[in-house]
């Protein structure tokens, strides 16, 4: 049954289809003009496919996909979903060909076993690469419910090695060096330098400010660590110190938000530059 609201939605949908059709025609016309109409030295315009027809068609396709993706800002629609799924499919195909075959299995397995230049090279491949190949095949058994237990041996090797190697390196790089860096500036600021006159501008710049900043960083680091320490209840002084940690975290999150905005805007600028300089061929 057609209600007035149904009728208005149907009408809206027809309007959307008409707008879409007009936009598609405009897009095609603009693309053809931008990509295939060139100006010669005398100022005359003429049509040419140019030296790179494939590239020009590719740019038109890329621009079309870009604008279809941006249609999501209006609302989720069929064109966006088609483009999104096409992208997922292309990514899948790329993964199969480039990542799995060209960069992994072909050079490491096929070339070493089936393209070995000498019998000695083949023997070496058999000796040193058979076990990793077998372990790699065992990884795939994870997909089977009945035989998935076989993949544990491959995972045990990967996880065990990663955990073992990670302990000394993490301790050295992310704990000890960071702790040292927390207080090292104090040493740099105070020890081994000729002290400038107290309360002079060089004293503020070379001694007071670095000491203040280092103290601020040390207090902040400890406060943040204390905030995340849930094994004891944060009462009275502990609660105040934990609040200090929260303030440091808030400033850090604010800074991260500012940088995140910068990052997202940069991505938008990148696409706009593509549309302006590569699609519409506006001179830089």
């Amino acid at each position: 049954m057609t209600t007035p609201q149904n009728k208005s939605n149907k009408k809206t949908s027809s309007v959307e289809m008409a707008v879409l059709a007009i936009l598609a025609v405009v897009f095609l016309v603009v693309s053809l003009l931008a990509q295939f109409i060139v100006k010669d030295a005398d100022g005359h315009y003429y049509f040419t496919t140019g030296a790179d027809l494939r590239g020009s068609l590719g740019v038109i396709l890329a621009a079309g996909l870009t604008l279809v993706m941006y249609s999501f800002l209006y609302r989720d629609n069929a064109l966006f979903k088609i483009a999104e799924n096409l992208y997922v499919g292309v990514a899948l195909g790329y993964m199969v060909i480039t990542i799995t075959w060209r960069e992994a299995l072909r050079p490491e397995v096929y070339d070493k076993f089936f393209n070995a230049p000498t019998w000695g090279a083949f023997r070496e491949a058999l000796l040193y690469r058979s076990v990793p190949v077998i372990l790699g095949v065992l990884l795939i058994t994870r997909l089977s419910r009945k035989h998935g237990w076989i993949s544990r041996y491959s995972y045990a090797l990967i996880i065990g090695y990663g955990a073992g190697v990670g302990i000394p390196l993490t301790t050295h790089s992310f704990i000890l060096k960071q702790l040292y860096a927390g207080v090292a500036p104090l040493q740099d600021a105070i020890v081994g330098k000729t002290s400038p006159a107290l309360f002079s501008w060089p004293w503020f710049a070379d001694v007071a400010y670095p000491v203040f900043l280092t103290a601020l960083v040390v207090v902040g680091t400890v406060a943040v660590l204390f905030y995340f320490f849930y094994s004891i209840e944060h009462k009275r002084t502990g609660r105040t110190f934990s609040q200090v940690g929260i303030f440091f975290l808030m400033v850090s999150f604010g800074a991260s938000f500012g940088y995140t905005v910068m990052g997202r805007v940069s991505l938008l600028i990148g696409r706009v530059q593509f549309l302006l300089y590569e699609w519409l061929k506006i001179p830089k």
């Binding site: 499919g89 397995v109 690469r129 076990v131 997909l143 991260s256």
Partner: protein, 225 residues
């Protein structure tokens, strides 16, 4: 056979290999270097097979959706259209075949990557700029002291990290004021908080690595049969 199905042997492997991996950091003998080389060559080969797991998962998701005619199943056909075309182009490889590389120039496979994959992936993430602007306008409020600090830090950094801040600073005779304020925030409170997070995460990671080596953490092995 049931012995091999149990977790005992894999856990022993984890402990043994982990101990060797730990020890090789402190052993200067060439055998430690050979061990590292052997292990990483092994992982290089296993990495290729691991990709197959990811490919299967994605394929299985969309095949199931098509088979069961779940919501949006028609769109899943485009996944296989895109994948099929790319695989065919990759295998054909401009007539050279999958066993050799094209010596120069771009293939049709490269074309698919450059003009479908790259713009789609780049655009999907760039849409976030609009959502971020809209969300910031609607929800970013200084409701309390902590939120106010977050807001002030965000505004100072957003303004201080773009060239217009130096231009504005020049009008007031201090071109570096906003840049210096941003530097102070980044090298002071931000550094302190990030360092605290790094230390906390690293200590947690260390504890987790020890749990894995000692067999306390077993979730990666998928449970006992």
């Amino acid at each position: 056979m049931s012995f091999f199905k149990r977790l005992t042997l894999p856990l022993l492997i984890v402990f043994g290999i982990g101990l060797l991996g730990f020890a090789q950091e402190f052993v200067p003998h060439p055998i430690a270097h050979d061990f590292t080389e052997a292990m990483t060559t092994c992982f290089k080969i296993m990495g290729g097979f691991a990709m197959i797991l990811g490919i299967y998962s994605l394929t299985h998701l969309h095949v199931t959706r098509i088979r069961q005619q779940g919501p949006g199943w028609g769109y899943s056909m485009f996944v296989f259209l895109g994948a099929g075309v790319m695989i065919v182009l990759g295998v054909w490889n401009d007539g050279v075949g999958p066993l050799r590389e094209v010596s120069e120039g771009k293939t049709y496979f490269d074309w698919g990557y450059d003009y479908i994959y790259v713009p789609c992936q780049a655009t999907i993430f760039s849409i976030l700029a609009f959502f971020m602007a809209s969300a910031a306008f609607r929800t970013f409020r200084a409701r309390n002291v902590a939120a106010a600090m977050l807001l002030i830090a965000a505004v100072v950094v957003m303004f201080g990290r773009v060239p217009v801040s130096e231009t504005v600073g020049r009008w007031f005779g201090t071109p570096d004021v906003f840049t210096n304020a941003t530097d102070f925030l980044m090298n002071g409170p931000n550094l302190a908080a990030k360092r605290g997070i790094i230390l906390g995460v690293s200590l947690g990671g260390l504890a987790q690595s020890l749990r894995i080596l000692l067999g306390i953490e077993r979730s990666y092995l998928g449970g006992q049969d």
